[in-house]
Subunit: 472 residues, 4 copies
């Protein structure tokens, strides 16, 4: 069992507050680390500020080299990273491996984008007032960045803050989830060896009170938070003058139409609904199926859900394992019970066993039930028939959230209608809302967030344009 | 009856070679003009060269003002331009009006694009060799431009050369078709009053021999030709060091699938097939209809074709009128007869009356027939059933041309397959290949041409990038 | 004297709270209008929401038409708009005319940009996870917009909120300054006649309490505020989930180097320093001149400042007139007196006469004085020598603000250094920080604001990206 | 001594026509290879055509992987590639190493650009004719590419054809110089192992007659030629319907102004003038120095030129070695002698020794001399004083060529004037025209060429846009 030190101000540090990280599957302690205190955070902030100028002046070849060095180190230590991530999060091994692959890709994209930072060159002589003048717009790093990342993708969601920060030339202080800090701290060890200016990246697990300094301290110029809506929107209020990016959750909907190819639709919905026990922002929570194919879909879907292999996350063929903690399993049980009490039918699943919650399918739900209106963040899916496509779109739009939506269809009209009318950040045709690759703009509207990630988009947020108006 | 002078070197000139322009519908002389001789052309070239520097230095607000002034003058004299165009070309009034509207739009787009000329701003420090260096790329006018435009859109196809030339700061010498030079010469009168440097635009009708100087003279830096493939490809060979843009013809195909909405498909195919007697580069020449709906489509299509109102082009409700000259009507008769002799069936039309050729639909054709393999440039359409969508795509791809194609479908798969596999410059979903708006990239591949028009794209051809490498 | 009604929900309305608008120069009442109450505002919001869908669906040709119609109406009524603006603001006629010209240009740009809304088309197959997938990103209007504009450019700063809102398809409720609401309300009369959906634009003068609903009401999705830093930053805190754009003030600096061309530098600094009595966000407040040319510059500058013609704003040759109100004149007197008490020397001016404050030049100031550290928003300029260019850049960077800066130089090294190191939104070479044209990105960093205006940039803020992930 | 086989149609082949490759420095045979005959070429073309579809369909992650694999193999075998290149070309080792580094960078850029192929997404509803329509523009590979590369950068100039071809999905047949084919053939061995479809890249040394098929065969859709102007322009004539890109030579000029930093200017001019004996398209051939600093510059320049270390190219500290062959050395001697006979003065050098020609500086030349007006392609530099900056720009512009130019200055006015008025593809501030990095647009105007290289720009030439017009 390893102890991972905090990485702050370019140093690996201990604090007085040691914490244990446990494997949610079996409650074994798999590692230790420390909570950073005010002093350590202050040190990290000061060091970060002191390297701002150096970061701003890194040539692109140097940033490329650093970022690719990290990507390559992740490749070289792929199995270790995968296993560590798997253990701290109970994310089944195959999904853990997928996440490390994505982290590698995120760093690679950032390496490439560091050579393609936003830039504009514009004419200003559109009126006589600008005669013989032109403008070139360079984007400069915004300054010190505060990043807060959640437990469910402990690696790649942290990387979506760290990698663009390096690419844009901003120092960053990252607070990982205290449940799953180890893979990020291991990443810090890799970063430390790359020639990046010391202190440009700090990774500090913190309690909520200390971590709140990331929100309120005015030396941070941007707060980028991935987590729950309630917490996120409060942060926006308290953030002072800094920019705020919020990547929050949702209750993503899927529409399966008559023209859909049924086999792949079922298969993808299974993954979208139950991968990592639904502890995914773009978990396929609500599935609406055209009434003419509803029974067929439901039957296959339930049959497939039942086939999922439950077990130890480190087994290569495990499909579903424990939730992150018992509290969450209990909460889901409550929501399911409440739905059932209110008329919902359980088609499969529905009873937790300790921290494990089985793949659960509900039907005959209605929009006020928590399993519909809130972010379930568990392996629970509602399945309902619809009549007209416009209705299905309306159902998906119900509620406060708007992250992504999936539409299985072969009709151009439906694709167009969905794109135009689904109130979300992403409409995924013939796939689940859970689809995400790391170069696409990703983020929600309505209560699901503010701003977009996807390396290029994060970089844009992390930089400020400055125009040089000059003669020609 | 008006006499229109040549517009060369900023002056309105006569030459010794007066020509008459006739209305193809009734052979009445509707106006006179002159053929420019070598001397006039030489004068125009020299003057154009002498204003190159002034043109290059026009601020964008000035170019915008000039181009919008032209657009507004066309609006203010809309009816006169429409009528003149109608008379010289026998293009039915409603289509003539449509063309003047498009010319207005083309100038408007050029006005706007003159403020958005291509520009790049790039980092050069991707390796140490470029440390502390960056590049800004401005595009400079390529120099003197030679434009040659055809009879079928005498106004807007000339405008697609003149407007981007002004926007990019290049002087241009334009040779209009000697059949239909009047609307372009009337445009010259408008241009003359705008404050554009005199000599920046010349419009000179010429015989082929004199006109060939536009191809061979090395002072021209770009030749932009719209016309027939045979002539165009020879020009490319003879053009010396200049750049060459060729907008040639085709034998455009249409696919009507099972999922197509039949009413609009028929209606649009009628327009695509018979508007201006098919004397259109993107005339819908070959229609392939899924066998399950073939009879239904054919019946409606023929019925609609027969309803087209034949008559004097100046009547507002005339749909179809004379061809540009009898030679062309005769040529088409020959091709139709040849096809019939080879097994084709005439579903409607097929017999010319003087310069008039009626809407004609053939079936049971095969790909070697001229009506299939060559550009028919007349009101002749072939109608054939197909079995599989892949076959239809293959049929459309047959032959030397590749301009645009239309696909009527509501299936995403077919749209994707068509886009990926149709060897053309443009795939038009749920419309005929005849669809064109003036800001879209337009042009063919295979024997149909080289390069793209659509104002922004023409401007790109008319300019040369120059990078400034500087320290940061 | 005219009474201008409120323009709310597509209607011209009165309220019970009539207010008088006076000419600050002579305190004459020049017009009347009304303060909107909660009820009127609520009506405007509801109507705006009800036309959201219609606004979202306006084709670009329609938006272009509407916006150009407004621009043309401003041209057609140029003198009336100029005079009204002049009277309500005491802005000298030539500057008032300049502002109306800019408003015309802002609408024209918006018209053009409405056809060029942001759009992306990206490959998603960067990893196997995205095989055969691509993304198209369309930007949809964010929804209802709240705009708050200040007294100093009552027309063009309102237009910078209204025009991009129309271009992006968002309804907008605008609160103009209650000191200068008339030109904006006259603009509303123009807008009303254009075919824009009724209720898409409302212009409602309001007291601060009612106006605060623009900040707090959650139906607004974006707040765009131009005004003072203190008010702006508080709004950010209270804005809830909506996006916030702040265009605040500054204490802009100018550097005049040895290599500067002296004549134009002096002339431009006079305009930058005293136009509209310095009531301009990018007023050239602090001028740093290289010591070797300091005396020469100071002499000429003072001499020119004294030549400025004081008088009635409606006289065509008036250079400087009254301030917006006496309170501001008094405030400036206090700041100047305080500076003098603290050691500053008055080189010219310095004594107010009623609402008039004369062109004033101070020297021997230091950075803690209010005339240096705060936004003076009056005709007061500090003039100080510097030794090394790096020092001058440091001086300009001092303090909380960072809007724009001017640098008069002919040296590439200095231009590069300034661009890289001046902490501002815009570095203007060989011109004053006061330079702005309406298509350039404009806005501040540090305490000077959040986000950028300049039509294209505002549009970007007013829209949300939505990606369509589809097969290829 | 190794024998390198031809790489055609995915196979390593011999022909009957074996050739020897010699080291120009000592005439030792360093390797053997074969001239491809008509049959081998035909085989390569057919195979290339047969993999066109597969190439077109490669996902971007696959192209990235292939291209990075090549880049990494070059890194892994860096010394061998460097040495082979050095031996076949007599390019001094340090410059050979630089070229291999650039080839690695060119492949890396191509890998990244393969994920960023040109793409457009545009609105088409700018008029009512396009209501509810939009366009997405994908770029498809143009088809089979013919590449011809020269002896002077045998590796990187071949790579500038091969790498973008792979990135854009086009098969390519490359003819390397028969003097220096070995490094390219060694590259072929690397390419063969990457998983690229067999036959997508062929590298075939050919005699001129066989090689001419690359120009005339209509199955090639693009000819990209780097070489001499006379040959290139003739190719344009004979190329039929294919697109043609020409990267030809020049007689690049440099301007050294009064404000230039003298030390670096001299140092860079030495490299620009004599690196690889001036056998570089952007060799700094003509240096114009402001008269006030002419003597100082001339003295230092000559002194530095004399310090260059002559010798065996494989020695790490060799600065200059033999020319590619004696014929070239003789030609240069003739040109120098002719210039001297016509009044030029030799400031240093001027006498060849076998294939070696020493660093030579001439003065008192005039523009008709071959050493001024033609591409000298040898270690000969002319050095002349100028009076006014405008004159210097005029001198640089004299003659038929326009590739790149260098300007050493610290004055903004001169930079602007140079950028606006130098008739070249690239203006390099404070560096020699010899500056090139592989992502910048590179190419000439006037007789220096047609089109641009620099990976992204080559890719654009290698692809054809196709618009999909669809409903929204």
């Amino acid at each position: 069992m390893t102890t991972f030190k905090i990485y702050a101000a370019g140093e690996f540090l201990k604090s007085e507050n040691e914490i244990e990280v446990i494997n949610p599957y079996n409650n074994e302690i798999i590692g230790k680390t420390f909570l950073g205190d005010e002093e350590i955070l202050e040190k990290a902030i000061r060091k970060a500020e002191s390297v701002s100028e150096e970061m701003k002046n890194l040539p692109s070849w140097k940033k490329y080299e650093i970022l690719m060095r990290i990507a390559n180190a992740l490749k070289d230590n792929f199995d270790e990273f995968t296993r560590l991530l798997c253990l701290e999060s109970a994310k089944p091994l195959k999904y853990s491996a997928g996440e490390i692959k994505r982290a590698i890709q995120t760093f690679t994209i950032a390496a490439e984008e560091s050579k393609r930072l936003p830039k504009e060159y514009i004419d200003l002589d559109w009126t006589q007032a600008g005669d013989k003048k032109e403008g070139i717009v360079r984007y400069f790093p915004v300054g010190l960045i505060a990043g807060i990342s959640p437990f469910n993708f402990p690696m790649n969601l942290a990387v979506h803050k760290i990698a663009p920060a390096i690419a844009s030339g901003c120092p960053v202080v990252l607070k990982p989830s205290t449940s799953t800090p180890l893979s990020t701290l291991k990443l810090a060890q890799v970063i430390d060896k790359t020639g990046l200016p010391k202190g440009a990246v700090s990774v500090i697990p913190m309690d909520r009170k200390t971590g709140n300094r990331l929100v309120t301290d005015q030396r941070f110029k941007l707060l980028t938070f991935t987590g729950s809506p309630a917490v996120g929107w409060k942060m926006k209020r308290d953030a002072g003058k800094k920019k705020v990016v919020l990547e929050l959750g949702g209750n993503a909907g899927v529409i399966v139409t008559e023209s859909a190819d049924m086999e792949p639709a079922v298969k993808k919905c299974i993954t979208g609904g139950f991968a990592y026990s639904g502890q995914v922002c773009i978990h396929a929570q609500r599935i609406y199926v055209h009434k003419s194919v509803f029974n067929k879909f439901a039957e296959k879907f339930i049959s497939e859900a039942r086939k999922l292999k439950v077990g130890n996350p480190v087994e290569p063929d495990t499909d579903i394992s424990s939730m992150i903690d018992e509290a969450n399993a209990i909460r889901i049980q409550d929501w399911v019970d409440e739905a059932v009490a209110d008329g919902a039918k359980i088609l499969t699943g529905g009873k937790r066993e300790g921290t494990y919650f089985p793949p659960t399918v509900l039907s005959e739900t209605h929009k006020e039930m928590k399993v519909c209106s809130l972010e379930v963040f568990g392996p629970v899916v509602t399945l309902e028939p619809y009549d007209k496509f416009e209705d299905a779109v309306k159902y998906v739009n119900e509620g406060r959230f708007g992250l992504q939506a999936g539409v299985f269809t072969n009709e151009i009209d439906e694709m167009n209608f969905a794109f135009r009318n689904l109130e979300v950040g992403g409409v995924i045709i013939n796939d689940v809302p859970t689809f995400r690759v790391d170069n696409m703009p990703y983020g929600g509207i309505k209560d699901s967030g503010l701003g977009r990630e996807g390396v290029k988009y994060s970089i844009l947020d992390m930089m400020e344009p400055r125009i040089l108006v000059k003669n020609i």
